[in-house]
């Protein structure tokens, strides 16, 4: 396969992250409008400069909620109409943030749009997020819910216990993930957990949700919006901030046929390995060259799985590395894979904190947290259902 033709051709020129709150007083749509406007201003542009919008409108709840555009999710059509725009490029792909970024890169490189805002808006509907009142297990759920197995936390717990039993991880092995994420999230002005780090006692005192997954191994549902302005690297050079180029991306692969909420550990690693290999090939880099990997943490075990996919720890060893302070962002010799605080440390934002962290570091906008890094990777999702985007500057 030849080099990825759009490598480093498209750049992030600006961003905005809304305050992340448990329950917003304003609608998610209103939050999105404000955040998108801020991102455009941050990039030094006007609303009229934007000719594309992309979002993944996924509202990732299996619960019984009235899910409406502008409230539970915000499509590009909803947004464009309310901004008074008729952009020539609008897409609302299924899937996750890396897919939206990939689509923006492709569209800008192809000339379908010049400047695209990629945004992600997430909503907390209130009540129990995944509570489902259906009296029937129809369709695919006849193979899952009917047998008493339901939902993403149960799916992750099953995969994590498979790993823990196989590699001898203790029941408390995930604690350093949640604690590290909360420590870093507590430093973000926009975090739901601002000023609220998590101590080990509180972690251990929280109830199990699906053993061996505890409450703080799961990100908290929130209302929040993040937006990023992407344009050609050439154009970005004339804008106020240092451009951060998209070097490569890799996305979800066709899933193995399984019953619902059945995501075995081996599926994650088998497909995740292919995804990572493709990412490196597209970027023309080796894993060792990626000096700022930011792993996903919507559920704590996913961080370990990503660390092992990226070669940060050998297979089955990441739980030992984190126990020894191996990801502590305040230690010189550590690999700070959750420097943004991710989802556990900020709220359920589906990978936007990791993307912001990569952007701020490479744009040299990280302030007191600034590091000297050159290749940053933002990972998102359950490996076989998510993706990763590699950035450089």
């Amino acid at each position: 396969m030849s080099a990825f033709p759009a490598r480093d051709k498209v750049a992030i020129a600006g961003y905005s992250q809304s305050p992340i709150v448990r329950r917003s007083q304003t609608s998610l749509g209103s939050m999105t409008i404000a955040t998108v406007r801020e991102a455009i201003a941050d990039a030094g542009l006007e609303l009229s400069d934007v000719d594309g919008f992309i979002t993944t409108p996924l509202f990732p709840s299996l619960g019984t909620h009235a899910a409406e555009d502008g409230t539970a999710f915000v499509t590009t059509h909803w947004l464009s109409r309310r901004l008074g725009l008729t952009p020539r490029y609008q897409q609302d792909p299924q899937g996750q943030l890396p897919g939206a970024v990939a689509m923006a890169v492709n569209a800008i490189h192809a000339g379908a749009a010049e400047t695209i805002v990629v945004y992600r808006a997430l909503h907390n509907p209130g009540g129990s997020y995944h509570q489902n009142s259906t009296p029937q297990a129809a369709g695919r759920e006849q193979w899952g819910m009917a047998m008493g197995h339901f939902g993403p936390i149960a799916a992750i717990a099953m995969a994590w216990n498979e790993y823990a039993q196989r590699y001898g991880a203790s029941p408390d092995a995930l604690a350093p993930i949640a604690i590290e994420a909360r420590k870093n999230g507590a430093r973000n002005a926009w975090s739901h957990w601002k000023g609220k780090p998590l101590d080990p006692e509180a972690y251990l005192a929280a109830p199990f949700i699906n053993d061996p997954i505890r409450m703080y191994d799961c990100d908290i549902p929130v209302d929040g919006v993040a937006a990023f302005v992407l344009t050609s690297a050439e154009r970005a050079r004339d804008l106020p901030h240092r451009p951060v180029q998209v070097t490569a991306y890799s996305e979800m692969l066709p899933l193995r046929l399984r019953a619902p909420s059945h995501w075995p550990y081996d599926d994650m690693m088998e497909l995740g390995e292919i995804m990572v290999e493709r990412l490196c090939r597209a970027g023309g880099v080796s894993l060792e060259e990626i000096d700022y990997p930011q792993v996903y943490d919507g559920f704590a075990p996913l961080s370990l799985f990503w660390m092992e996919l990226l070669g940060i720890a050998p297979r089955g060893e990441a739980h030992r590395m984190i126990a020894d302070g191996g990801i502590d962002s305040d230690r010189e010799e550590a690999v700070p894979v959750l420097a943004s605080g991710g989802s556990l440390g900020n709220g359920r934002m589906h990978g936007t904190p990791q993307m912001i962290e990569c952007y701020l570091q490479l744009a040299r906008r990280a302030g007191e947290q600034q590091r000297d890094v050159s290749l940053a990777l933002a990972c998102q999702g359950v490996p076989q259902m998510g993706g990763a985007v590699l950035y450089s500057a």
Binding site: L62, G63, S128, H130, Q131, N132, S133, T134, P135, Q136, A137, A138, G139, R140, E141, Q142, W143, G144, M145, A146, M147, G148, H149, F150, G151, I153, A154, A157, M158, A159, N161, E162, Q165, R166, P207, F208, I209, N210, D211, P212, I213, R256, L257, R258, A259, S261, H262, P264, Y265
Partner: protein
């Protein structure tokens, strides 16, 4: 586990799965077998992913119901109807003996106090959810 009134979500048989649920009602575990290559699939699908046939002609054939535990979790939240009184309960990820990688997740009915380990042997049993409706589950087995 029989004859207790319940409002758990009942499986809705479809054109493909109806034989599976008919057999389950008689406490017999079956698996969908491809009419072209004889590979088992769980769940069944419009396509046989082993041979690629898009007219797999699934036959639901009885299986031993025996297998080994690959993972388990404890459910502590009632996210679906009818399970609140069952909490907490264990679900297991089981690989059936019939075919490597033939995995299904269902409840383990041995209660909360039994120690579990990878590769523990299990056998299928059934929960009667309503008259004429039963769903597969597992129990620990000696071998």
């Amino acid at each position: 586990m029989t004859d207790e009134p319940t409002s758990r979500p009942l499986p809705v048989p479809d054109a493909v799965s109806a034989p599976f649920w008919q057999a389950a009602a008689c406490h017999e575990l079956t698996m969908a077998q491809c009419g072209n290559c004889s590979t088992f699939s769980y769940p069944p699908d419009p396509v046989c992913l082993a041979c690629g046939s898009f007219e797999p002609g699934w036959q639901f054939v009885p299986v031993s119901g025996k297998g080994r535990i690959l993972s388990w979790t404890v459910v502590r939240q009632a996210l679906i109807p009818g399970v609140a009184d069952l909490l907490p309960y264990v679900t297991v990820d089981v690989e059936l003996d019939e075919q490597p990688g033939l995995r299904m997740v269902a409840r383990l009915l041995d209660g909360m106090d039994v120690p579990l380990a990878l590769d523990d042997r299990v056998e299928a049993c059934f929960e009667d959810l309503a008259p004429g409706v039963a769903v597969p589950a597992f129990r620990l087995a000696d071998e």
